[in-house]
């Protein structure tokens, strides 16, 4: 009972204090949010090294001698994994470039892989906006001589992912069905030849008919 009455006395004071405190805090938060709404949407920076490590793992998959990927057996499975660290256009582009399916198995193309970020060397990370960052690194190797690696990150569904790497997707929005029109490689030569032949035949029939008509008369 004693404890209870003491509690009731303190509770009244506490409630008053708490009300005041909450009021001040709430006011402050409203004030900050209205003055600087970006604060509430700050997504931080992309986890460059962690994402790069995951990217390297997916682009350096263990294969058999004939190029068969050991860990995944279909493009669909790998696609799911890739889309966990990059946007779908980029994932589709990598799948199209470096992998193919044959006899229900997944194979890796025998070719040089994509440029990787050298995390031991300097790079610049530029903020485009709260949901986009761009990384740039200069490098040199035997295959490509001097090169520039660019990586674009975007904040999607609550996490940072790759949006593009060295224009793999390109400036235009990637759309597998939005490429160029195939050239018209049909000629009208066969039709022209047929038309010419038909006209000659018609003329010949006309001459023949005329001769027959004049012979009968």
């Amino acid at each position: 009972m004693r404890i209870s009455s003491q509690t009731r006395i303190y509770s009244k004071e506490d409630v008053k204090m708490m009300k005041k405190l909450f009021g001040v805090i709430a006011g402050l938060l409203v004030c900050i949010a209205s003055v600087n709404p970006v604060f509430a949407e700050d997504n931080g920076k992309p986890p460059v090294e962690k994402l790069e490590q995951q990217f390297n793992q997916m682009m350096s998959l263990e294969t058999t001698k004939d190029g068969k990927v050991k860990k995944y057996d279909s493009l669909g499975r790998l696609e799911q994994e890739l889309k966990s660290i990059m946007t779908w256009p980029l994932a589709d582009s990598y799948l199209d470039t470096y992998f193919y399916e044959e006899n229900d198995k997944l194979y890796m193309e025998e070719m040089d892989g994509p440029l990787r970020l050298n995390t031991d060397e300097d790079y610049t990370l530029e903020k485009i906006n709260d949901g986009q960052y761009k990384l740039t690194q200069q490098g040199h190797n035997e295959l490509r001589d001097d090169y520039t690696l660019t990586i674009e990150y975007s904040y999607e569904a609550g996490k940072w992912v790759f949006a593009d790497r060295n224009n793999q997707v390109g400036e235009d929005e990637y759309d597998g069905n939005n490429g160029g029109q195939l050239p018209n490689t049909a000629t009208n030569l066969p039709m022209m030849a047929l038309s010419g032949g038909a006209l000659m035949a018609l003329g010949a029939v006309g001459l023949f008919a005329r001769r027959k008509f004049s012979t009968q008369n």
Binding site: S93, E109, M111, R144, D172, P183, N184, T185, M192, L199
Partner: protein, 210 residues
């Protein structure tokens, strides 16, 4: 009656003569010399899949000295040789109607590049003249493109038939890719509804003066 019939015969003969002339012009853009073409390219009959290589460029900018894009439409820009068929073709810039009358055309677009760049090169030709033997080319065969004093060796990776309105063929590629396109079916009269596509990847590059 006689005059009309004679006129029809003359008109028909003129059309036939013009057709033969146009056909000969296009056929002459192809040199059929199997021995010479095969001799010129060692390893043309090695059909085991070889690794794709990247040319030593990283950008896809076309307007540079090394990768000229300042061609006039219809200008000859290189050669295509296909040892499997034994044919050598003159390649011209553009794929418009007039250019394709000359021979093989190199597609000019924002999706495509010229050989020597990491991207997509597309060559097109008429099925009933320059590319009428294209169906003899098989997976693993080599296609050689002479361009800008270099010979680019592409190996065929895929062959398929698609609709003429398919917009998924001529797209940007990160890897050096050569695509040949012609109409299909090969013996169709008039505007063929399909396209025959041969896609290949770059496997080696040689300087022509070596």
């Amino acid at each position: 009656m006689k005059e009309l019939a004679t006129l029809l015969i003359l008109l028909g003969a003129t059309i036939c003569a013009w057709t033969v002339d146009a056909w000969l012009e296009q056929v002459n853009a192809v040199t059929h010399d199997p021995d010479q073409v095969k001799q010129a390219h060692k390893g043309w009959d090695e059909t085991d899949i070889q690794p794709t290589i990247q040319p030593k460029t990283t950008t896809s900018t076309k307007n540079t000295k090394d990768t000229p894009r300042f061609f006039e439409t219809g200008e000859q820009v290189g050669k295509l040789e296909i040892p499997r068929i034994g044919n050598s073709y003159d390649v011209f810039w553009g794929t418009d109607r007039d250019t394709l009358k000359k021979g093989v055309g190199m597609y000019d677009s924002k999706y495509t590049v010229v050989p020597g760049q990491a991207g997509h090169v597309l060559l097109a030709g008429h099925r009933d003249t320059v590319f009428r033997k294209l169906k003899q080319v098989k997976k693993g065969d080599h296609l050689y493109v002479e361009f800008n004093d270099k010979t680019y060796d592409y190996q065929v990776r895929d062959i398929w038939i698609t609709d003429r309105d398919d917009r998924s063929v001529i797209v940007k590629k990160q890897t050096p890719t050569l695509t040949l396109s012609t109409c299909y079916p090969f013996d169709y009269l008039g505007d063929a509804p399909k396209r025959y596509i041969i896609q290949s990847k770059l496997v080696s590059v040689e300087e022509n003066n070596k």
